[in-house]
């Protein structure tokens, strides 16, 4: 119950910060781009609108996860409200979990509304496709992981540094396939390090089926499920580390 209370308060706080205004930007971007594209492109309008919609859902979600996520813990410390909280019978890990779940709720609402807008536009244009849902779902799983990473860094660092670290982790997560290419060019220990890093670092490309979806390829259910298991497992590990870091933190 304490976790739920913290989560709901985090959700309310984010709503008060007018985070949902992002949705308005999303709707304008989507409708505006679909109108502009009909003037600029030769064919491909459907593919480009789907690309923009899926990318916008992902990028707005990541921006929310990073910039709200890194401030969640820090704001409590800065405003000294953390002292009130830690003096109460609340386990510190519950505090982190509550903050995390609150932000996940914000993201879930954001993504749901953006997806509804997106599907609305696709229906009007006659391009609606059920496979889009699998890409959006895996984007949400990616956001779960990015949020956990943001909270992990914010549990021991400042918001600016946490933002920087999380953005770096996000970038690495999308280009870690380059490590395998690098491994082919080096021998011995270097190759081992490349492989170790490849398997240890979060690989966000495993949660990216946007390319398959926009080209009309089938996304197998077992791929979606396996990717979900990967994303959720990684999230739990990172969240566990965040709880450990936060437990060791001294507020006196």
């Amino acid at each position: 119950m304490k976790v739920l209370a913290i989560a709901l308060n985090t959700f309310r706080e984010a709503i008060r910060d007018r985070i949902l205004y992002l949705l308005l930007v999303f709707a304008v971007l989507l409708i505006g781009s679909s109108r502009a594209l009909s003037l600029l492109t030769v064919g491909s309008e459907e593919k480009i609108v789907k690309d923009i919609g899926l990318a916008a859902i992902s990028l707005f979600g990541v921006a929310t996860a990073i910039f709200v996520g890194v401030g969640l813990v820090f704001k409590e410390i800065e405003k000294r409200t953390i002292y009130t909280l830690v003096s109460k019978p609340i386990v510190r890990s519950h505090f982190i979990l509550g903050k995390y779940l609150g932000l996940v709720l914000v993201l879930a609402v954001n993504v749901s509304i953006m997806t509804a807008c997106f599907y609305g536009l696709l229906l009007v244009k006659g391009w609606a496709d059920a496979a889009i849902a699998s890409a959006v779902f895996l984007t949400l799983v990616e956001l779960l992981l990015v949020t956990a990473i943001a909270i992990f860094f914010s549990s021991f660092s400042t918001p600016i540094l946490s933002s920087l670290f999380t953005v770096t982790a996000y970038v690495i997560g999308h280009v870690s396939w380059g490590l395998l290419m690098l491994a082919e060019r080096v021998n011995g220990l270097g190759r081992g390090i490349c492989h170790a890093l490849y398997w240890c670092l979060p690989n966000l490309e495993r949660l990216n089926v946007r390319g398959m979806v926009v080209h009309g390829a089938d996304v197998p259910l077992d791929q979606v499920l396996t990717a979900t298991v990967y994303g959720v497992s990684y999230t739990i590990i990172v969240l566990g580390l965040a709880m450990m870091m936060f437990r060791r933190r001294d507020f006196l």
Partner: protein
């Protein structure tokens, strides 16, 4: 201090004018830029890294830009990096994006006049998308229509028609390529197959016209060759076509596809068909 607001007004006006003039000048300079702006466009392999999981979106952006760029006829040297833009950048960023292959090949062939470059792009697209019949079909059409290389065109059309979803007309165009390259017997074999497997009266009628005329052409070629052989063996022309069979120069004397016997002129050795051609082709009227 009294002239302050007036001075500030003049300064502001001067700044607005300077900004407007410089902006306009920069705009005209950017039009002179030509291909230099494309020179710094990195390969798609590198752009894929910086796209951070959105290579398809980046491919869209560059594709949209390319349409505007190659549609600007003021840039005389705009084709210098044409292959780089479509093949090395867009196709590397999103290998399954079909429209840029088609539009790029069209610009390369029809605008830049480099059909081999267009074929290289379509070949690259076909390798990345073996399920897309349109790419080898377009390549075949370029070979047929622009290069007049019918043998190469036949190869592309054969690849296209082997892919599910290819329009039935692909088989007909493929069959006609052999006729274009002068191999009437192979063309007849393909057209006969199309006729025998036709699933509509339209296709049956079209294919029969081709089979009809090709059969006459093949028969006339066979009989004319046999007449020439007879003449070189016996020192005279045969009195009738039946002499060719008796001399062992042909197994049988065929009738034309309408069931009429071929007409033979014993004075000149010319063989012709009594039936009219069904198709209008150069040389058969």
């Amino acid at each position: 201090m009294k002239g302050g607001p007036i001075g500030a007004g003049f300064l502001l006006g001067a700044c607005v004018a300077a900004a407007g003039v410089s902006s306009s000048r920069l705009e005209s300079m950017s039009h002179r830029e030509g291909s230099a702006s494309v020179l710094y466009l990195p390969s798609g392999q590198y752009l894929k890294v910086v796209s951070l999981g959105f290579p398809e979106l980046l491919a869209d952006v560059i594709y949209l830009w390319s349409i505007q760029y190659y549609g600007d006829y003021d840039k005389a040297d705009r084709y210098v990096f044409l292959e780089h833009v479509y093949s090395s950048v867009i196709a590397e960023l999103d290998p399954h994006y079909i429209d840029p292959y088609l539009v790029g090949a069209m610009i390369m062939g029809m605008e830049a006049g480099d059909h081999e470059m267009a074929l290289r792009l379509l070949d690259k697209g076909a390798r990345a998308n073996p399920e897309e019949w349109i790419l080898p079909f377009e390549a075949g059409f370029i070979c047929f229509d622009s290069l007049g290389d019918y043998e190469r065109a036949a190869g592309y059309f054969e690849r296209a028609m082997a892919i599910p979803g290819a329009p039935p007309a692909t088989r007909r165009i493929h069959a006609e390529m052999f006729n274009k390259m002068g191999d009437k017997r192979r063309s007849l074999a393909h057209w006969s197959q199309i006729h025998d497997t036709a699933d509509s009266d339209y296709v049956r009628d079209i294919s029969w016209s081709h089979v009809h005329d090709l059969m006459i052409e093949v028969d006339l070629e066979t009989l004319t060759t046999a007449v020439a052989s007879y003449r070189s063996l016996h020192g005279r022309l045969p009195a009738a076509l039946a002499d060719l069979r008796r001399a062992g120069l042909t197994d049988r004397i065929p009738d034309d596809p309408d069931g009429r016997p071929y007409q033979y002129d014993a004075a000149t050795g010319a063989v012709k068909s009594a039936s009219p051609w069904r198709l209008f082709r150069k040389g058969n009227r």
